[in-house]
């Protein structure tokens, strides 16, 4: 991902991850399987999985804004 990860971006992504129900897990390919709390921790620490989630979340939000996703 080329864009800079600011504190504002991290806060936005974390806020959206908070909406994940506690009874769900996410399989992210080679990174493994994660709970909501593990993803949030990854975003906070900017780990590899955290950066991946930020990339996905920001791309998704842009697509929503552009009306690509309806």
């Amino acid at each position: 991902m080329s864009e800079e990860i600011t504190e504002e971006i991290k806060e936005l992504v974390i806020a959206r991850l908070e909406a994940i129900p506690p009874n769900k897990k996410i399989s992210v390919g080679n990174y493994g399987e994660f709970t909501k709390d593990e993803l949030i921790e990854g975003v906070k620490s900017e780990s590899e999985i955290g950066k991946k989630i930020i990339e996905i979340e920001m791309g998704f939000l842009r697509a929503m804004k552009q009306g690509i996703i309806k």
């Binding site: 897990k25 399989s27 390919g29 080679n30 991946k52 996905i56 979340e57 309806k70």
Partner: protein, 215 residues
């Protein structure tokens, strides 16, 4: 003469377990349609077995479940099964669907250069959401279904005689339907939407999209 369908189904973590159980549905359909099925399950999903079965039976349709990277797909316990620059030539004259991460980026085009008819898969990580409480019965997991049912549809369409183009469009349409459901309904998990969208933009097909499994 019946067609042959080779499938790898490693099972060594949550991810491969779910992929294995869900893709078993494609085996049922293939058997109903009189395909010869080569099911490389658990320990049999290894490079040696894969190469032997490919050379001996020359399956027209190959589904690779497992982890992966840009240039490779792995089997049980992450043993590399096929890798660009090593053995992608084995995929010559075949239609391949890789339900694994990233391999459509490099292994896909490389396998086409080596003579594969078509290689369909994902150019970045394949992601899905699941419910751990459904772990003993993954096919009842409605959250995972949003992701894995559209995936199965690609193979099922090919088995039914559709071209890659038709199968790809059906699978994409089902994925879009899952995405719409996740975005717009309360019954569905809205948190799945971001990952359905991610899979959708990374779902790619290389090679001859007019190819068919049935001659």
């Amino acid at each position: 003469m019946s067609s042959t369908y080779l499938i790898t189904r490693p099972e060594h973590d949550d991810t491969t377990y779910y992929l294995s159980i869900w893709s078993k549905e494609t085996i049922k359909l293939a058997e109903e349609r009189d395909f010869k099925v080569l099911d490389l399950y658990r320990e049999k999903a290894n490079k040696k077995e894969f190469e032997e079965k490919i050379k001996k039976f020359s399956p027209k349709l190959v589904m690779l479940n497992g982890h992966g990277n840009f240039d490779l797909v792995t089997g049980h316990k992450n043993e590399i099964i096929v890798k660009a620059g090593i053995n992608e030539g084995l995929l010559k004259s075949k239609i391949i669907y890789a339900l694994s991460c990233k391999s459509a980026k490099i292994l896909g085009p490389k396998s086409i250069e080596a003579g594969a008819l078509n290689y369909t898969g994902y150019e970045d990580d394949f992601i899905f959401v699941y419910e751990p409480e459904q772990f003993s019965r993954p096919l009842s997991d409605k959250t995972a279904e949003l992701f894995l049912s559209p995936s199965n549809l690609f193979i099922e369409s090919l088995i039914k005689g559709n071209s890659v183009k038709e199968a790809f469009e059906k699978s994409r349409t089902a994925l879009k339907k899952s995405l719409s459901k996740a975005v717009s309904t309360l019954e569905s998990d809205p948190t799945a939407a971001r990952f359905l969208w991610w899979n959708l933009i990374n779902f790619k097909s290389h090679g001859d999209i007019g190819a068919q499994v049935l001659d």
